[in-house]
């Protein structure tokens, strides 16, 4: 591997305050992977007014930052971004290309992969270069972990959710090369984003909550779901969910904790009426105390927590909420 080559690339995203946290986390990981391959880290950043973000990316470990700075790049436009990035990949032939599992990344990654006719793994939890120099991509599935590889096609592509990898320490003394990329002027977009609109989020933010109450299929119905919500409120906790609860329509996808949802880092986690499916549990990183309430003695959730309550959540949760209110009022 040529030491001057950037074998590992990251598509970074400009967030609302500088650079998206997921992008910094990916650069940190890319640094590790590039070191294993004795190579450099390249980053693509598209948007407008990129100098702050670029600086942070270099401090996080990027050796080369390819900047596309133009009005047409804000907001994100799938076809244009794909065109630019695919061209860059064709020029540099990296071994690995990483993107965040952000809304942009989840659409952009497959567009790039299909154009380059290469493989892509979604929502990875672990990434490691093996002794043969191949990227091992691990995702949770079927109650365990599966390892996926893309042995021949290049680049090996993976997306990773925000929070899976830790944010690297920023080193202000690091330096890197900044390259300006050509942005096509009159690119015809068949799908054009006209505007991006923010919507009010309710309740305690899951990503920053120190206590999280998560509910699952065991809530039974909307009434049961509200009961769990009341417990979350009285504990001033973030109220998260698993996929079955989202599918049942009791809550929005935004509240889903897990591999393809939010990664959270609470001190205390209480899982109610959920089975402890790995796709959800990997979303909980480093909780000090974990508790589960479930009426199925065989539920896998009881193997992953510190305290277990074998009760129907429809019975236990209202009783607990009531007791907590009583002690509060004393």
């Amino acid at each position: 591997m040529s030491k001057d080559k950037a074998a590992v690339f990251v598509v970074a995203e400009q967030g609302e305050t500088g650079v998206e946290p997921a992008s910094l986390q990916l650069v940190g990981k890319a640094r590790e992977l590039a070191d294993a391959l004795e190579s450099k880290v390249g980053v693509v950043l598209l948007g407008k007014n990129l100098s702050d973000a670029t600086q942070k990316l270099i401090e996080a470990g990027a050796d080369l930052v390819f900047q596309g700075d133009a009005d047409v790049l804000v907001p994100y436009q799938a076809e244009l971004y794909t065109e630019i990035i695919v061209k860059l990949m064709a020029e540099h032939h990296p071994e690995i290309l990483l993107l965040g599992s952000t809304f942009m990344g989840r659409e952009l990654a497959p567009l790039i992969a299909a154009k380059l006719e290469t493989g892509l793994t979604a929502h990875c939890i672990e990434l490691e270069v093996n002794p043969e120099g191949i990227l091992e991509q691990r995702i949770p599935a079927y109650g365990g972990m599966i390892t996926i590889v893309c042995p021949e096609k290049r680049p090996q592509m993976a997306t990773v959710a925000n929070g899976v990898f830790s944010t690297p320490a920023l080193d202000a003394s690091r330096s890197g090369q900044i390259v300006s990329i050509e942005v096509p002027n009159a690119f015809e977009l068949r799908a054009q984003t006209l505007e991006v609109v923010k919507e009010e989020a309710e309740g305690v933010s899951l990503e920053t909550a120190s206590v999280i109450v998560a509910g699952g299929a065991g809530a039974g119905n909307l009434e049961g779901w509200h009961e769990i919500g009341e417990l979350a409120t009285i504990l001033n906790a973030g109220f998260g969910s698993t996929r079955p609860a989202v599918d049942a329509g009791w809550t929005e996808l935004e509240t889903m904790i897990g591999q393809s949802g939010k990664m959270v880092n609470p001190e205390l986690y209480i899982g109610i009426g959920l089975s402890g499916e790995l796709q959800h549990m990997v979303g909980i990183v480093g909780a000090k105390v974990m508790i589960a309430v479930n009426n199925d003695p065989k539920s896998p959730v009881f193997e992953q927590v510190d305290y277990g309550v074998l009760e129907d959540c429809r019975e236990f949760v209202p009783a607990l909420t009531k007791k907590l209110m009583e002690s509060r009022n004393k």
């Binding site: 009426n295 199925d296 003695p297 065989k298 074998l310």
Partner: protein, 378 residues
């Protein structure tokens, strides 16, 4: 021989019926138990789900799916709510004499409206003087100027208050051997539903009495011909009434089995789920065996019906077997639940109470045996 598997299409019917029962009926069940009332839109929702069109021929606005389809739908509805299944089955029972014995005018007038649920039917045979003994019927008619005047009282009639076109069996005042079926419609002077029953089970299914005081019924409302009343009533009850009870019973058996399996897998005694104990396993096996057997009996009879044959005897066997089995299954389910089997929050208590009402509906078990022995000895 025979292929015992359901066709792809029949599996889709089952899926559609199951989705309907789980999404539209299930939420109302607790309320029905408490108030002994069906919910306001039950008839409208049954109609929207095309349930009433199942046995009505296409040329009269129905779907002509047939009796196997009907049994599938009943099983799925009953699994969620026996009360709703009973209501639905008796609406179907009321429709049947129109299909089998109606004149062209009567079919054109009533069947399309039954199919859309605009009008609802039922059959009124049972009286205080006997249901098992229909000849003991005291409701009478008198011919007056080419029309008929009816007097009498019917009891234990399902859909007594909701059905607006009722097939009433009456005896000729002057000739105790002549019986006729009349279509008595809401709005006819002198006809009114009176008392409503509070049953131990199937709560929310309207069962009650109707009263006829000098009700004038026009000649065009004679169903199946003067003097043919017993034949008309018994044909409908024998095939469709019994068939409907089979559907109610099978659905209840499945519900009992499902609840028992769930509880047995969750309840821990001696460190293990009780589904590991042979005593529990044997009860579950009994339920399963009865369910397998009952299904075969029911679908066999329905298949004969779909092929156009008479199936009252086969349905008598199936009705006897499944309604008795459902009562046993409900008791076993309650036993498996131990103390919890007596608590309102557990569905099995409702199953037990519902099972009681299966027995005497559309002919008691003893009557079924009379019919079957007659069949065997003939």
């Amino acid at each position: 021989m025979i292929d015992f598997t359901f066709t792809e299409e029949q599996e889709l019917f089952r899926k559609a019926a199951r989705e309907f029962a789980e999404t539209k009926i299930a939420p109302h069940v607790p309320m029905m138990e408490e108030t002994n009332r069906g919910w306001d839109e039950v008839d409208k929702e049954l109609a929207e789900a095309e349930m009433f069109a199942v046995t009505i021929p296409e040329e009269y606005g129905g779907l002509g799916i047939g009796y196997i389809g009907r049994l599938i739908a009943l099983e799925e509805i009953s699994r969620i709510s026996v009360a709703t299944a009973m209501m639905y089955q008796v609406f179907g029972l009321g429709i049947e004499p129109f299909i089998k014995f109606g004149t062209e005018e009567q079919k054109k007038k009533f069947l399309p409206k039954f199919a859309t649920g605009e009008r609802l039917a039922t059959v009124a045979v049972t009286e205080p003087s006997g249901g098992s003994d229909p000849k003991g019927c005291r409701t009478s008619y008198k011919k007056v100027n080419g029309n008929y005047v009816l007097n009498g009282r019917k009891c234990f009639i399902t859909n007594s208050h909701t059905a607006d076109a009722q097939v009433v069996l009456a005896v000729d005042e002057d000739n105790p051997d002549a019986m006729t079926c009349f279509i008595v419609e809401k709005g006819m002077e002198g006809f009114k539903p009176t008392h409503e029953e509070h049953k131990v089970g199937m709560r929310g299914c309207n069962t009650g009495e109707i009263e006829m005081k000098d009700v004038e019924v026009p000649a065009e409302n004679v169903l199946g011909g003067e003097g043919k009343g017993l034949k008309v009533a018994m044909a409908a009850i024998g095939d469709v009434g019994r068939g409907g009870m089979v559907g109610c019973a099978l659905g209840l058996q499945q519900a009992c089995l499902d609840a028992s399996i769930k509880f047995a897998n969750e309840r821990i005694l001696y460190g293990k789920p009780i589904s590991n104990l042979q005593a529990i396993q044997f009860k579950i096996a009994d339920m399963k065996i009865d369910l397998e057997a009952g299904r075969l009996l029911g679908y066999r009879a329905a298949a004969i019906q779909d092929a156009g044959g008479r199936s009252s005897n086969e349905f008598a066997v199936a009705k006897y077997y499944t309604t008795e089995a459902a009562q046993k299954a409900a008791k076993m389910a309650v036993d498996i639940h131990g103390g919890y089997g007596c608590m309102d929050e557990f569905d099995v208590t409702r199953y037990l109470r519902d099972s009681f009402v299966l027995g005497p509906s559309a002919g008691t078990s003893d009557i079924m045996k009379v019919i079957v022995s007659r069949w065997a000895l003939s």
